[in-house]
């Protein structure tokens, strides 16, 4: 297979070395656990954190004579993910055996897809930035393929001095391996790619994207070269389990390779591990020989086949994807690209926003959700799911401003009360006397009192009209911020006889 270089060297992405600039080339294989109740080829549960070996069927333990039967939901989820990656869906794909020995692989082989995967080439658009000018840049990262395969079991090495403990609960759980093309040129791009991939699968509900529980992990291929040269020798960093670590691992690995090459050495193609505690990568025991997986079609499984009508039906019911949602928010609701990208970054945030915006001004709703809600959540270290204020409550606050019942300033106070104590914003405004005073009589009375109490200021204001602002402030203070500021302003000016 020949690899096509889709990018041209870009000065701002190059890394300086001692002897000139270098370009980093990155490709990624992401393992994403398919969201399903049961495993890929058995009826055992996929739930996380169960008692050892309790989510295991005789198929998963590779007992003699057991036969795999594919879970239709896993197939459906793989196709839906493929559609989300704008990828070619293959109507016929084949399951192969990838042979190797390890104690947590009871079959002695992993059922995977080799030459004929279920999903072919696709595309993910990432946004990198902002740069020094505050600009974001869209970069297209090619998808090489997506295939279905079984996860292995789990070995625990710290329970005993001479023995490893093996739990097969994960054995046979369906994974999607999503392989990118070597289209990324910086750690920022790699992080943006993984973030985007995670957003897409979470929107689709095909993987929960929970990296802490191992539902998503990345193998990162890194090489370096002089700008304009062909691809260098790559090293694969295995099983990186957070987006931040992906960035750190790439930065370390690129520097390591550049140092070797600048000293006149050469890079050995090898598998490396990232150590998050030390922030460095180290070589794994050489598995050169073990890399001979002797793939062959699994004789227990027929080819996986479906027609275009099946794919079309799944495409028709596909969730609106983050990029499409962002375009819609920008084009039909008039949001800025930046605001829209914040709102679509998580499906839960987008859903929340759309409830607030429904029947209201989109920009006002965006301001409240981004500045007030997300700001407060961020400060409290909470996720959107834990928000103590509902979309209906924020919506009511916005409505109250629009109706002129409360001022913008009081609205912030009201939001804080709802955040801390809960309750219906409309009732709170009534019960706590937060209503904006629009009754001219009441405002006039307050204005008269301030004027009567400050004859010296009245004199000064006649010479210096900007002093009217001081009177407005005093009236607002006297009315507890509830007077309509515009009405106060008009009255003050009229009473002082200034324009």
């Amino acid at each position: 297979m020949s690899i096509i270089d889709t990018r041209t060297p870009d000065a701002k992405r190059l890394v300086p070395g001692a002897t000139g600039d270098w370009e980093i080339v990155i490709g990624m294989e992401v393992h994403a656990q398919v969201t399903s109740e049961a495993k890929l080829f058995s009826g055992a549960s996929t739930s996380f954190g169960a008692e050892p070996n309790s989510n295991v069927s005789l198929v998963d333990a590779a007992m003699p004579g057991m036969l795999p039967v594919i879970n239709e939901e896993c197939v459906r989820q793989a196709i839906r993910t493929g559609l989300g990656l704008k990828a070619k869906i293959n109507h016929k794909s084949v399951f192969d055996r990838k042979n190797y020995f390890y104690p947590d692989l009871p079959q002695g082989y992993q059922i995977s897809q080799y030459k004929q995967p279920i999903v072919g080439e696709g595309m993910v658009t990432i946004s990198v930035g902002p740069d020094r000018q505050g600009q974001f840049e869209d970069v297209e990262v090619g998808i090489e393929r997506l295939h279905l395969e079984q996860d292995a079991g789990k070995s625990i090495h710290d329970q005993h001095p001479t023995l490893s403990y093996v739990d097969l609960n994960r054995s046979g759980v369906a994974l999607m391996e999503i392989v990118s093309k070597p289209d990324m040129r910086s750690s920022d791009e790699a992080k943006a790619y993984l973030t985007k991939l995670r957003t897409i699968v979470r929107y689709l509900g095909t993987c929960d994207g929970n990296m802490d529980e191992g539902s998503m992990r990345a193998d990162v291929n890194v090489s370096v070269r002089r700008p304009g040269e062909g691809f260098g020798t790559r090293c694969e960093i295995k099983n990186v389990n957070s987006i931040r670590f992906v960035g750190q691992a790439i930065e370390y690995e690129a520097r390591r390779q550049i140092a070797i090459l600048e000293d006149g050495g050469k890079i050995d193609q090898e598998t490396r591990l990232f150590d998050p505690n030390k922030g460095e990568t180290r070589s794994m025991r050489s598995k050169e020989e073990a890399h001979d997986y002797r793939y062959f079609p699994d004789p227990d499984l027929l080819p996986l086949e479906f027609d275009q009508a099946y794919v079309d039906a799944l495409a028709k019911d596909l969730t609106e994807l983050p990029d499409d949602k962002k375009d819609r928010l920008v084009n039909s609701l008039g949001l800025s690209a930046y605001d829209a990208s914040i709102l679509v970054s998580e499906k839960a945030i987008a859903d929340y926003y759309e409830k607030v915006a429904s029947g209201r001004d989109g920009k006002t709703a965006a301001n409240w959700v981004i500045n007030d809600l997300l700001g407060a959540l961020n400060k409290a270290g909470k996720g959107i799911e834990e928000a103590p204020v509902s979309p209906e409550q924020i919506g009511a606050v916005i409505d109250l401003i629009k109706e002129g019942t409360i001022s913008g300033k009081i609205a912030k106070d009201l939001f804080e009360i709802v955040w801390n104590e809960g309750g219906d914003p409309r009732q709170l405004v009534e019960s706590r006397g937060m209503k904006q005073v629009t009754d001219t009589g009441a405002i006039e009375k307050a204005v008269d009192e301030i004027i009567a109490a400050n004859p010296d200021k009245v004199e000064q204001a006649k010479a210096k009209p900007t002093l009217a602002g001081w009177f407005v402030g005093q009236v607002m203070k006297a009315t507890g911020g509830k007077a309509n500021p515009q009405a106060v302003n008009d009255l003050v000016k009229a009473k002082l006889g200034i324009e």
Binding site: E37, A38, A44, Q159, S164, Y165, D292, L302
Partner: protein, 95 residues
């Protein structure tokens, strides 16, 4: 196609089968005889013929996404030489 003794030893190692030097030499001969026999298939022109995946035309059976199995950890580890709290115990393997 034929194999030499190094290939036989390598394949045996990949399959984690212990093969003595003497057996490897004998097996090299046996395997080459088998390979030679199978090689007769090359005489048939299969241009444009799809690889056969099943003797009878049938589609792969699929199962519904429902939990129908599990919760028998004691059975799963019943034949294991060493266990603890329903874990399989194996000689330490660590990278």
């Amino acid at each position: 196609m034929s194999v030499d003794i190094a290939t036989v030893k390598r394949v045996a190692h990949l399959a984690r089968i212990a093969v003595s030097e003497e057996d490897a030499a004998r097996m090299t001969g046996e395997l080459n005889t088998i390979l030679g026999f199978v090689e007769q298939l090359n005489e048939v022109d299969v241009t444009g013929v799809e690889p056969m995946t099943s003797v009878i035309p049938m589609e792969m059976k699929e199962r519904q996404d429902a939990v129908t199995d599990g919760n028998k950890a004691a059975d799963i580890v019943a034949n294991a030489p060493a266990t603890d709290q329903n874990f399989f115990l194996v000689p330490k393997v660590v990278e």
